[in-house]
């Protein structure tokens, strides 16, 4: 299985959450996963309810079953200084560059360079081995930029090709692309069963495929529970309100006669059922559209209690049960 797992998704679909759950799911017994953040939002720290992450790999969780999850928030400026240090031994000069704004220039403005640094750092973690020649991390999970930007972000080679035709950045980009386009990498897209996220997912996959980047899985997040089925929905259209009122009354919710406690519930409950039916139909359409993409499709439930650390472990378990690790 791919050792670099890239997770993207439209804003609001919960890609950070899914990336974190995936890291937990992959860190089965004795394994180590590194969860990498590239957008400087400190979303991982918030999710794991810890202090802001420094530019340093640190253990943030023990996965169910005993694997370990490490996290790293990649800071492009520090990654560049790192890089300069590694290749040019430029400790002090690096600081001078920073003072002059050169680092800011290189990471913020020089297009593509920032992305090369971010993906480069992740690829380095993928390839890193310990003294005994074993991979330090079994998996690297990247919480990547959103679907609309993912192909361009990963396709750093094209980004810098027109700019840096030779030199270390060029070489770095080449090396990064070798990892990103190989079977070592899988790009997963997180979506919701809503029109815009699904549309973006479809577009994003087309872009990834054009760029020859390996598409992994589709993960539908925050799936609301199926409470009413077809039979229920059929019945709501035909059932008499009086009969439902009686049933509610029988369940101990007040009188079934006009104005009674149970009778007053019927209208609102049926309205909610109508809203449910409309959403249900929309979701079915969206699900069908996703199925046409012919990729492994996973669904994660919307957590009734909202997203917290316990919920994250729940999602990780769910992903494992769905055979993602």
């Amino acid at each position: 299985m791919s050792r670099l797992q890239v997770v993207s998704g439209k804003g609001g679909t919960g890609k950070t959450t899914v990336a974190a759950a995936l890291a937990l799911a992959l860190a089965t017994e004795g394994k180590r996963a590194l969860l990498v953040e590239v957008e400087g939002r400190q979303g991982i720290a918030q999710l794991f309810e810890t202090e802001a992450l420094p530019y340093e790999e640190r253990k943030i969780a023990v996965a169910p079953g005993g694997g370990e999850v490490f996290a790293l928030a990649i800071d492009p400026e520090l990654a560049l200084l790192d890089y300069l240090q590694m290749f040019y031994k430029l400790g002090g000069a690096g600081r001078a560059l920073k003072k002059l704004g050169a680092i800011d220039f290189a990471t913020t403005i020089a297009p593509g360079l920032r992305d090369v640094l971010l993906t480069g750092k992740a690829c380095e973690a993928v390839r890193r081995k310990d003294k005994r020649g074993r991979f330090v991390y079994d998996y690297v999970v990247m919480d990547a930029p959103p679907t609309g930007r993912i192909a361009r972000f990963l396709n750093v080679n094209d980004e810098v090709a027109g700019l840096a035709k030779i030199g270390p950045i060029h070489n770095q980009a080449q090396a990064v692309m070798r990892v990103l386009k190989s079977a070592e990498t899988a790009v997963h897209l997180v979506t919701l069963l809503e029109e815009m996220p699904v549309q973006e997912t479809v577009d994003g996959i087309a872009e990834l495929r054009t760029a020859k980047l390996p598409v992994g899985r589709l993960i539908v997040n925050m799936v609301r529970p199926a409470i009413l089925d077809e039979a229920d929905l059929d019945l709501t259209r035909d059932a008499s309100r009086a009969a439902i009122a009686k049933s509610l009354s029988a369940a101990g919710l007040g009188g079934a006669r006009r104005g009674g406690g149970a009778e007053r519930l019927v209208g609102p409950l049926l309205t909610q059922a109508d809203e449910y039916a409309e959403r249900y139909a929309l979701e079915r359409e969206q699900r069908a559209e996703l199925q046409e993409l012919d990729l492994p499709l996973h669904e994660l439930p919307l957590l009734a209690e909202g997203m917290d650390l316990a919920g994250l472990y729940e999602l990780a378990t769910e992903l494992r049960q769905q055979g993602i690790s």
Binding site: G162, P225, A243, S247, P268
Partner: protein, 454 residues
């Protein structure tokens, strides 16, 4: 339980006030910013104002319904609006590369413009740099404002990495392109050859050397040519960024922070509120989209679940299912009162103690079709009690959602009691036509919490 914000944000006076010239919708991604901007624009236009909506990345069908799916970077008049109040609606979708190109074309002579447009550094910068979209959105806003053809400009903001980018990126790009480093880099190019060398001390040459090594000499040269060409052709980027910035602080501008009642979205909203205050940007209030309500809020999740459980217990065993049918027949016969007492259903024993009425299973045994439907394929009869139990479970889910939303809103309200709020009830589907936008507009103007609409 109710939010009771210190103030309810009243949208209509804001839209109607001729002094309101710019409304900026900002907030995290995926909260409905674009839809909100379009709905506000439509509402203002139908209330008599001449409006232009600047959208960044609208859903395809929404763009089509407004007639702006063609990406040509110019405002188009939206057809089909109610113009009886004398208003007009125009809309456009931002093309950031085109906007950047236009700046160049407007400020450079033909030859120079071609040189810039063909420069690889420029091409990357205009298409790829993460801050360009933000910068160009603000640039376009400045241009639209300068044309002064509209009374009101409604702006959607780019789906940024974080809400703050939209304020920071123009400044960053501006200060960078005008900055010390660029001056140093371009000095030799501008002054040329030996003269330029005088300005370079050892540190600088080391720096350009390092950058050259790192980026490759060609890139550095491209940057130098680009900046030199830009610099001599039109005023500094920083000046332009500053002008846009001042425009945002001006009294005719109103910021609306858009959010959904979810933890992350409201956290971003809170950051934004704080940031706007720090930058002296005028915040009109918070638009809270996708708020859920219930017409049956008097029934708690717990009670609904308990009641559903009662019904399920009564209906669970297959024998009891038959009985449920019998019961309904009884009720239809007018004996409902006797059998409907809660304790009949409170115990799973009671159905078994009742006589079975097999003939009730026959489709035409007198049970009205309305009371009993066979689920096709599943082969199981769905009784009214089962349906009711499911309706109650659905309600419980809704009430849990409501209380979760309430908690996140309360947290925000506690942090920022000064912020006026308008709530927009969640819709089951997406909006892609003017009718849908108008509906959102009504909800925006209504403002009251759907949870309190009892």
């Amino acid at each position: 339980m109710s939010l009771d914000p210190a103030r309810i944000l009243d949208i209509d006076p804001l839209l109607d006030d001729p002094k309101t010239r710019i409304v900026v919708c900002c907030g995290a991604g995926g909260v409905g910013k674009t839809t909100t901007a379009a709905a506000l624009g439509l509402r203002a236009a139908e209330r008599g104002r001449k409006v232009v909506v600047l959208t960044i990345d609208p859903a395809r069908r929404l763009a089509q319904s407004m007639g702006i799916d063609a990406l040509d970077n110019t405002p188009r008049r939206v057809k089909g609006i109610d113009d009886s109040a004398g208003g007009e609606l125009h809309a456009m979708m931002l093309d950031m590369k085109r906007t950047f190109d236009e700046i160049v074309e407007a400020h450079a002579d033909r030859e120079r413009a071609d040189a810039i447009l063909g420069n690889p550094f420029y091409q990357s910068l205009s298409a790829g740099f993460a801050g360009t979209q933000e910068y160009m959105a603000m640039e376009k806003l400045g241009q639209l404002r300068a044309r002064d053809e509209w009374d009101l400009i409604v702006v959607d903001t780019p789906p940024s990495r974080s809400a703050l980018d939209f304020l920071d990126a123009p400044k960053r790009l501006g200060s960078f392109l005008d900055g010390r480093l660029i001056r140093l880099l371009t000095a030799p190019a501008k002054l040329g050859g030996r003269a330029g060398m005088k300005f370079l001390n050892v540190g600088m040459s080391m720096m350009t050397g390092t950058l050259g090594k790192l980026l490759g000499g060609q890139l550095l040269k491209d940057v130098q040519t680009f900046v030199a060409a830009m610099d001599t052709t039109f005023g500094g980027f920083r000046t332009r960024a500053d002008a846009t910035y001042k425009l945002l602080q001006a009294p005719g501008t109103a910021f609306l922070v858009v959010a959904a009642p979810e933890r992350d979205a409201l956290r971003e909203a809170a950051y934004f509120v704080e940031r706007l205050a720090a930058e002296d940007m005028p915040l009109a209030g918070l638009v809270l989209n996708r708020v859920h309500g219930s017409g049956a809020a008097q029934l708690s999740a717990e009670r609904a679940l308990a009641a559903a459980e009662n019904l399920a217990l009564a209906a669970a065993p297959s024998a009891a299912e038959n009985l449920a049918e019998a019961r309904i027949v009884d009720q239809e016969d007018g004996k409902a009162g006797l059998r409907n007492s809660p304790d009949t259903y409170g115990s799973s024993e009671s159905p078994a103690s009742q006589p079975a009425v097999p003939e009730a299973l026959a489709p035409d045994a007198g049970s009205p079709a309305a009371d009993r439907i066979n689920a096709e394929g599943a082969g199981t009869a769905r009784t009214i009690d089962q349906l009711t139990a499911d309706l109650l479970r659905l309600h419980a889910e809704r009430m849990q959602l409501l209380s979760r939303e309430q908690r996140t809103r309360d947290r925000f309200a506690a942090l920022h009691p000064e912020v006026a709020v308008t709530e927009v009830a969640a819709l089951p589907g997406d909006v892609h036509d003017l009718v849908g936008l108008r509906d959102i507009g009504d909800r925006l103007a209504d403002g009251a919490s759907p949870t309190r609409a009892e």
